[in-house]
């Protein structure tokens, strides 16, 4: 399954709804999307990973890189993820403490 990226703006945030697999092949597409959004001035990004089937360290690297980009502009990057198999990856790499991970878009948008 390839990577799908749907972007919309809501309540001062830019939401990227990601679907498919984030791996060594597809992660550059997500990286490019984040770079594009930050270049356009979107510094508060929510990445909805509910439809992500797979995530490897390349994808984690892209997410961390995106976090660094928005923080350089005093922005934020929040993740939406309820899948235990993905949450486990964030936990064992210590990134669960780095990212704000929410259970729903409503929770993420409520974060200020």
């Amino acid at each position: 399954m390839d990577l799908s990226l749907e972007t919309r703006h809501e309540d001062g945030h830019t939401i990227i709804e990601v679907g498919g697999e984030i791996d060594v092949y597809t992660a550059p597409k997500l990286r490019d999307k984040i770079t594009e959004l930050v270049g356009e001035g979107s510094y508060n990004i929510v990445i909805d990973m509910e439809d992500v089937d797979f995530l490897d360290s390349t994808g984690l690297g892209v997410l961390v890189g995106g976090l660094k980009k928005v923080r350089a502009h005093d922005g934020s990057m929040q993740l939406i993820c309820n899948q235990e198999r993905l949450l486990k990856i964030f936990r064992i790499t210590g990134l669960a403490k780095v990212f704000a991970i929410h259970g729903s878009q409503a929770d993420a948008l409520a974060e200020r």
Binding site: E21, D23, V24, Y25, A27, P28, F54, D56, S57, T58, L60, G61, V62, V64, G65, K68, R85, I89, I92, T93
Partner: protein, 139 residues
């Protein structure tokens, strides 16, 4: 040389060219082999992730300039009293961690996920050949 699965009595072997697009093929084969072990889906997911991760590290993301090289990445999966998976790559750029391919990416140490996932993982460098060897108990 895109995914060419072959099978003997006790081993499945897949050889792919160094193209990131082909790593998914190996993950699918790894999941199928893991499923034969008769364990739960969490185990299958762990094997799929670990094998994909090892292959991704060997193939690289394109920044190494190795894509399209003739050096294949070979994955051998044997299911017996344990599930043994060996990922082998030969060619320039497979020296021990620290080179361009294996350097940190945005603070993510490439081998960290593999080491955290599996208790039994070894990385052996022999000249231009690197082998990631992983094993899981079965049964």
């Amino acid at each position: 040389m895109p995914g060419r699965p072959t099978r003997t009595a006790d081993e499945v072997r897949v050889s792919i060219a160094r193209d990131p697009a082909l790593v998914r093929t190996v993950r699918l084969v790894a999941a199928a082999v893991a499923r034969r072990a008769g364990r739960d889906e969490e185990f299958v997911e762990e094997v799929r992730l670990a094998v994909g991760e090892a292959c991704a590290l060997m193939v690289g993301d394109g920044s190494s300039g190795r894509i399209g090289s003739d050096d294949a990445v070979t994955v051998a999966m044997a299911l017996d009293e344990q599930l043994q998976v060996d990922v082998v790559a030969t060619g320039p750029g497979n020296e021990p961690p620290g080179n361009v391919v294996l350097a940190d990416v945005n603070g993510i140490e490439p081998w960290a996920l593999l080491r955290a996932l599996i208790d039994d993982v070894k990385v052996v460098h022999n000249g231009a050949t690197t082998m990631v060897s992983m094993a899981w108990p079965v049964g």
